[in-house]
Symmetry: C2
Subunit: 132 residues, 2 copies
DNA sequence: GCCATTACTTACTTTTTTGTTAGTACCCTA
DNA sequence: TAGGGTACTAACAAAAAAGTAAGTAATGGC
């Protein structure tokens, strides 16, 4: 998020893993708040303050950081209006819009996974009860 | 990766963001090496040592940690054979197999994104040259 | 008895990410 | 001239993730 040591094994490994396009794709949205931000923008343009209000737990600092990275990576477009008080709008780019249908599928899968895990833990509790 | 403070804002926020099914889904595969591991297992069962050899930069510690988390989250199945030297096999579960088609799409998107970024930086260099 | 093999642990350090707090610039309005 | 609104930034602290190095257990073969 901040600057990185360019020589660490950590950085080397980051480069290594992103040669895989799938890992690369997931890394782009891997920051804690990024997908939440992108989901909000899916509906339309939003101002900085609107995003902040819609994602209740995020701090201004984190919102800024994540937006900056998303902008750098071509995932959002930032438009500054020369007004006072300032107005800045964020929106999805063409490339990030292409992800929308994939997000839907992933989201469905996530819901499925949650159910699976609930069943799993229910089973475990049951078999624990039986063994007593 | 290791234990977490259960009361930190960090942990609270993690809980908050994973109420979004999409974020939840991505978090499940968010560990640095997880997608690489899952991709290898897509083809079939693999032993611990085979995984290690196929992912050249990973350490045994990281492989173990990532596999443990994947197992905990129902993403891989671990089978231990009571032999000496030990033999342990890993494979995808039903729920993680359902992700395979989504991975393909994401991977294609990742490749597209890489191209887009290459063009983008080429343009920037060009306009930089022009302005001189 | 000693070594090799396999799949890990353990203790520790480094790096990265996330969160806290307190600012800033700008102009408009009261 | 004081205060308000907006979109940030800076300096710092805490937490989490990733990496390093050196073990361990079990047993079959020499």
């Amino acid at each position: 998020m901040a600057k990185r040591k360019e020589t660490s094994t950590n950085t080397e490994n980051r480069n290594y893993i992103t040669t895989c396009n799938l890992t690369y794709a997931v890394c782009l949205v891997g920051g804690r708040w990024k997908l939440l931000i992108l989901c909000k923008l899916e509906i339309g343009k939003l101002r900085f303050g609107e995003l902040r209000n819609q994602i209740s737990n995020i701090t201004e600092r984190m919102l800024t950081l994540q937006l900056r990275e998303l902008e750098r990576d071509g995932m959002v477009k930032r438009t500054v209006y020369a007004e006072v008080p300032p107005r800045v709008e964020y929106e999805l780019t063409d490339i990030s819009k292409k992800l929308v249908p994939i997000w839907c599928q992933l989201s469905n899968w996530g819901a499925q996974h949650k159910e699976t895990m609930l069943e799993k833990s229910a089973n475990e509790i049951e078999s624990l009860a039986e063994s007593n």
